[in-house]
């Protein structure tokens, strides 16, 4: 069934309405007459519809890069420029299939991540390039967006870097064209330290494994300076720091996270306490364990009561022969602060 194969291969492009008109017509005719292909087509459409209901969560950069690298490695690279125009449909199919896989894979990946989506908001909106502009729609920080030309501000401010520009041709059914590009722009978010938007950005930077840890280091130093002494720190922020302490492979980052948690009174934030206990129990870096004990001792000093598991852990640490002596001493000191 070579025709079935060709039609099924064309289905992603058919779904995106980017198939050339004669091919599109032939494909639809085939689908109407072929039960199996009709079933396949229905599945594609259902998947596509279901994807609409998913939140628009950006695919992590690392995953995207790996995928594109893999796709690039499958495409034979040569130094000879072909005289004939390559078949655009095949190339487009490949790109469209890639887009589908990125979308599906990204959504699947994002749906399985325990951290919340960094920023939620409408899918299509204006993104003004300056903080002086006042927009009624919320500013979105997103990895990819689709914006209508009518929503673009007529002024382009500064000199934003625009790269990787691609032009998408009209498909024959509409006059619309599309320009896609990557843009680097500098964003400054202003607001009170406790403002939700600011806290969400900070939490995202703290937990984003795909970003350079220099940003993370700076964010943690900022958190430590800005939020230390707050009586009721934002739980999102505490949770983000706890996640860094639990999951980050970068030991410098974990040390900073535990320092930040130590400087912020966690109060009733159980996420912070469990992260400290977990760090004391399992972190291979002794400096992290020392600071975790300090943080727990501070909690004890401030009158927080410990559950029996925490007390047992401290007791075990104090008596653990293969633990660093200083950690043992600090555990004994922390136990001395316990006031039940």
């Amino acid at each position: 069934m070579p025709e079935c194969d060709a039609v099924r291969e064309a289905m992603p492009a058919l779904l995106l309405e980017s198939l050339e008109s004669d091919l599109r017509e032939r494909s639809h005719l085939h689908i109407e007459g072929c039960e199996e292909c009709a079933l396949q087509w229905e599945n594609w459409r259902l998947t596509w519809t279901a994807m609409d209901s998913l939140h628009d969560v950006p695919v992590p950069t690392r995953l995207r890069v790996r995928f594109l690298d893999h796709v690039a490695s499958l495409t034979p690279a040569g130094t000879v420029v072909p005289m004939a125009r390559p078949r655009p449909v095949v190339r487009r199919w490949l790109a469209q299939a890639a887009a589908m896989v990125i979308l599906v894979g990204g959504s699947f990946y994002a749906g399985h991540r325990t951290i919340p989506a960094p920023v939620s908001g409408p899918k299509n909106y204006v993104t003004p390039a300056t903080v002086n502009n006042v927009s009624t729609t919320p500013f979105s920080i997103a990895e990819s967006q689709v914006v209508s030309a009518s929503q673009i501000s007529p002024d382009i401010e500064g000199r934003p870097q625009i790269r990787n520009v691609r032009f998408l041709e009209p498909d024959g059914t509409s006059e619309k064209v599309a320009i896609a590009f990557d843009m680097t722009s500098h964003v400054t978010v202003t607001g009170r330290p406790d403002e939700k938007g600011l806290v969400r950005v900070l939490s995202y930077v703290l937990q984003n494994q795909d970003h350079s840890s220099l940003s993370k280091s700076n964010a943690m130093a900022f958190v430590k300076e800005t939020y230390s002494g707050e009586t009721s720190p934002n739980p999102d922020l505490v949770r983000a720091l706890a996640n860094v302490l639990k999951n980050d492979t970068h030991e410098g980052a974990r040390i900073k996270a535990v320092e930040a948690l130590r400087s912020i009174p966690p109060g009733s934030a159980s996420a912070a306490r469990s992260a400290l206990v977990e760090a004391l129990k399992n972190d291979p870096n002794p400096a992290v364990r020392i600071k975790a004990i300090d943080a727990l001792a501070n909690l004890a000093k401030s009158g927080e009561s410990f559950d029996s598991a925490t007390v047992d852990l401290l007791r075990q640490k104090a008596g653990q022969n293969d633990e660093n002596l200083y950690v043992r001493v600090k555990a004994a000191e922390a136990l001395g602060q316990i006031n039940l």
Binding site: L325, Y326, I338, N339, L340
Partner: protein
């Protein structure tokens, strides 16, 4: 639990509302007390389990065959509503069978700080029963005249066992343990406390082996114990025999407190340490007023950040000449040493303000907090951060886990962290090596220098090198990465020759070039990280002249 005989049941409930001045707890203006007196039959070879999180417990062995309970349940609260909540959510529960009696003070979920509840138990049991008591906090736990086995555990509060013949196992965290043997011990016993002291009193003619362990405490006795001690990585162990006996073993284990083995005819004050004088811990003491003043001065002028320690086994404000000190466990503070400093602690923080000579400090665990080090510096710790204001003649700064921060390195310096960031705010001399196994490295070159060698390696982190304008160097920058599009080399100048090479699963990005015509060699290597070199005219840090 059904009482054995109605005739022997006496339940007296007294509700007392007390005035605020009579209550210990500040703010707890209301109180209710209920007394429960009950009697239950109990087998002679039975067991008694008492779980009383807050409150005292006294158990006395008798010749009877019943458990006599006299419990005082007290609830204190800030107001009537909280008092009602406290009474609703806490209660003593008496249960079990004649073979195993159980007394538990229960706290339902919903406990808060508006109220507190405690139960004081006075219990009479058949002398031969086994006894197990667990408690968190209470004035005291006492067991007297019991020949069965005894297990006692608590967090706070003192534990006293008198005339207990059976096996004893006692564990506390902050409480003192006192044990009085009326006759020579015949079975093994183990007593452990983290921060408390242990006193074992036994007849002079007792035959036993005393095995004592401590992290930072001491062993004292008034008895002729013959044995030896052993210094181990995890503390000190002493084992000695009293009157030549091979058993039973009396094991005492205290982390920071002291353990005594005393004769029943001598005073505690007469006890002497079994450790040689040089091994006896001095014990940490809080800073004297002079030291506090010196600490404040040193913290504000010389240290990068305030010390975390609040008590010290050695504290010196000014030491003329060479200062040499070693301790097992403890923090050390010296404001100024005019000669060389050679300091070692097995566990503790070392705080030095200024050292005019060579400085060698080592801790097997604990942070190093150093101010102005005029001579060559060697600072090592097995765990913890290292902060140095100035290493004027460079040296070595190394931690197996923790951050390294040096504000000014005036000479050739090596920096190492087994896991943590390295920050060198001003390299006024060659950076022979800066290496971290997991962390970022930030190095800023002295703006007065036109060229300076730097070698830095970070695994799983980034390197940021800040150089002054016009700085000359031969650059070799290497990034080994699984994601060549993720990890990059950023410079604010051009002219670098970049190559990519596949080495196993990783891509090696290598950039070489001469900056401003070339100069000293700068080699930066990262594994799964970024390299950033930025040209910036940062203000120079000027150190004060040393007289």
């Amino acid at each position: 639990m059904q009482p054995s005989s109605p005739l022997r049941i006496l339940i007296a409930c007294t509700l007392i509302l007390s005035a605020a001045g009579e209550l210990r707890a500040a703010g707890m203006k209301k109180a209710a007390t209920e007394r429960i007196v009950q009697s239950f039959p109990m087998e002679a070879n039975g067991g008694l389990v008492v779980a009383n999180p807050i409150g005292s417990v006294e158990v006395v062995g008798t010749s009877g065959n019943s458990l006599e309970v006299d419990a005082l349940w007290t609830v204190r609260a800030i107001d009537d509503k909280a008092l009602a909540d406290g009474k609703r959510l806490s209660r003593p529960q008496l249960g079990g069978t004649p073979g195993l009696r159980s007394l538990r003070s229960l706290y339902e979920p919903g406990r808060d700080r508006r109220w507190s509840a405690a139960v004081t138990y006075r219990l009479r049991v058949p002398r031969t029963v086994d006894v197990e008591i667990t408690s968190h906090s209470g004035d005291s736990l006492q067991v007297t005249n019991v020949s069965g086995n005894v297990v006692v555990k608590n967090v706070n509060g003192n534990i006293t066992l008198s005339s207990v013949i059976g096996t004893m196992r006692v564990e506390s965290i902050n409480g003192d343990i006192t044990v009085n043997y009326p006759v020579t011990p015949t079975v093994n016993a183990r007593f452990g406390t983290v921060n408390g002291d242990i006193r074992v009193v036994t007849p002079r003619n007792s035959q036993l082996v005393w095995h004592a362990e401590t992290l930072n405490g001491d062993f004292l006795t008034t008895l002729p114990v013959r044995g030896g001690f052993q210094r181990q990585d995890n503390g000190t162990v002493f084992q000695g025999s009293l009157n030549g006996a091979p058993s039973p073993f009396i094991v005492t284990s205290t982390m920071t407190g002291r353990a005594w083995l005393l004769s029943d005819t001598t005073q505690v004050a007469a006890a002497r340490s079994v450790l040689p004088r040089e091994e006896q811990p001095g014990g940490p003491i809080g800073p004297t007023p002079e030291t506090q003043q010196a600490l404040r001065r040193v913290s504000s002028t010389l240290l990068v950040q305030p010390p975390t320690a609040s008590s010290f086994v050695a504290q010196q404000n000014l030491f003329n000449g060479d200062f040499k000190f070693a301790t097992t466990v403890g923090n050390i503070f010296v404001a100024e040493v005019t000669g060389d400093a050679d300091i070692m602690t097995r566990a503790g923080e070392i705080v030095l303000g200024r050292v005019l000579g060579t400085c060698s400090v080592a801790s097997m665990g604990g942070p190093l907090n150093l101010g102005d080090i005029v001579g060559p510096l060697t600072a090592r710790t097995a765990a913890g951060d290292i902060h140095v204001r100035a290493a004027r003649r460079g040296g070595l700064v190394s931690t197996e886990g923790g951050n390294v921060q040096v504000i000014v390195a005036g000479g050739p310096i090596r920096l190492y962290s087994g896991g943590g960031d390295i920050v060198l705010r001003q390299a006024s001399g060659p950076v022979l090596q800066a290496e971290t196994k997991s962390g970022d490295i930030f190095i800023t070159i002295d703006p007065k220098l036109r060229s300076n060698p730097v070698a830095a390696v970070s695994i799983g982190g980034n390197i940021v090198l800040t150089i002054p304008p016009g700085f000359r160097a031969d650059l070799e920058l290497i990034v080994d990465t699984l994601g060549p599009e993720m990890n990059r080399i950023h410079t604010d100048f051009g002219g670098m020759s970049v190559t990519r090479e596949q080495i196993g699963p990783k891509t090696r990005i290598r950039a070489v070039g001469k900056l401003n015509g070339g100069g000293d060699r700068i080699q930066l290597t990262v594994d799964e990280g970024d390299i950033q070199i930025r040209t910036l005219n940062v203000p120079s840090i000027v150190l004060p002249a040393v007289n």
